[in-house]
């Protein structure tokens, strides 16, 4: 879980920097498209991985063993 948090922070920072760079500097269109295609989903996903609530330690095992929960 700690490594997941570190990876999420790194991806969030990198995607933020890439998107801001494209906002400030006029790169070629293909560079901007590439950054947008990968950067926007990466930014939303990494932010979500940081904001999501984690199960309580005593509930973790139950959550992982409890598939097919739907909503």
């Amino acid at each position: 879980m700690v490594s997941q948090k570190i990876v999420s922070i790194i991806v969030l920072v990198l995607s933020t920097i890439a998107i801001l760079a494209c906002l400030v500097i006029d790169f070629d269109a293909w560079i901007v498209y590439t950054v947008a295609m990968f950067g926007i989903p990466a930014w939303v996903l990494s932010l979500g991985l940081l904001t999501m609530a984690k199960p309580k330690p005593e509930d973790v095992e139950g959550r992982l063993k409890e598939p097919f929960t739907g909503y």
Binding site: L23, D26, I40, T51, M52, L64, P67, T69, Y71
Partner: protein, 290 residues
């Protein structure tokens, strides 16, 4: 305007407008069925709320695949926004986006390890039949306008009038796709409630919110493409009215139509597609189409 700023604005518009339209869709279905229904903003609130809900990764999932497939879903619809509202690029890119969307449905179900997801994954292969009418509709647009480029198609329509009058049956084929992708559609065999939430069953919490984000953009992009290639150059008000009208129509259809069994769903889509396909060919050869 800076290209990235344009893309960001269009993605945010697509997400907000798509979420509200899907909320409206649910409200319309409820009112047709004489239920009060949730507020129109509920779909948007759900999408945001899921980002803060407790999320775990069940032992049965293939984790990189399980998370990665939601990333791919978002990626392809960002590509849809870029190819459509931002760049007015080729229709073939949007066809490719839709083809990958079917792959996402398939792999999202198989990555979860859930029997419901796997059954939905099998049905996603069956429901790929909807791509045939979509491809036929795009081919007819090309035959009439001589181009696949959305910008040039808009220009063509500003001179010759909307394509809905020229190739209405091709528009009907495209509309079939929109009905298929609308929530609670009679053709939504991958999300049949017998399969809980189908290929999304195991994606809950954050990942469900992320999928809602992508699906809201998907709904907006599909309506935008339909209105753009069949109803000619439209301004913002025209798009808004058009999207609300289509959402009303699909909501009414879905509220009054039970879901088909998989074989009936596929056969109905192929039959309607075939009738529209040969009907359009007859119209072209008899000179009805200019």
């Amino acid at each position: 305007m800076n290209l990235m700023a344009n893309i960001l604005i269009q993605v945010i518009i697509a997400f907000l407008a798509g979420s509200l339209l899907l909320g409206l869709h649910r409200k319309i279905m409820a009112r047709v069925q004489r239920r009060p229904g949730p507020p129109i903003i509920q779909h948007l609130l759900h999408s945001l709320k899921f980002f803060f809900k407790e999320t775990g990764f069940p032992k049965t999932v293939s984790k990189p695949f399980y998370i990665g497939i939601t990333f791919i879903l978002a990626l392809i619809w960002v590509v849809g926004v870029i190819a459509g509202p931002v760049a007015h690029d080729s229709l073939l890119i949007l066809f490719g986006v839709y083809a990958v969307y079917k792959i996402v449905e398939h792999n999202s179900g198989s990555s979860s390890g859930s029997p419901y997801g796997k059954l939905s994954c099998v049905r996603a292969v069956l429901s790929a039949a909807t791509e045939l009418p979509l491809f036929a509709a795009i081919v007819f647009v090309y035959l009439v306008t001589g181009t696949m480029n959305i910008g040039e198609i808009i220009t063509y329509q500003s001179v010759h009038g909307p394509l809905i009058y020229t190739i209405p049956l091709a528009a009907l084929m495209f509309f079939m796709l929109i009905i298929t992708k609308s929530p609670y559609s009679p053709f939504a065999i991958t999300k049949d409630k017998a399969l809980i939430s189908g290929f999304e069953t195991e994606h809950y919490g954050l990942l469900r919110g992320f999928m809602h984000f992508s699906e809201s953009i998907a709904w907006y992009v599909m309506l935008w493409v339909f209105l753009t290639i069949f109803f000619g150059p439209l301004n913002a008000v025209g798009y808004l009215i058009g999207m609300i009208v289509i959402t009303f129509i699909t909501g009414f259809i879905n509220a009054t139509t039970p879901i088909f069994s998989p074989n009936h769903s596929v056969m109905t889509q192929i039959t309607i597609g075939a009738i529209c396909f040969f009907g359009t060919i007859v119209m072209i050869f008899t000179g009805v189409v200019a």
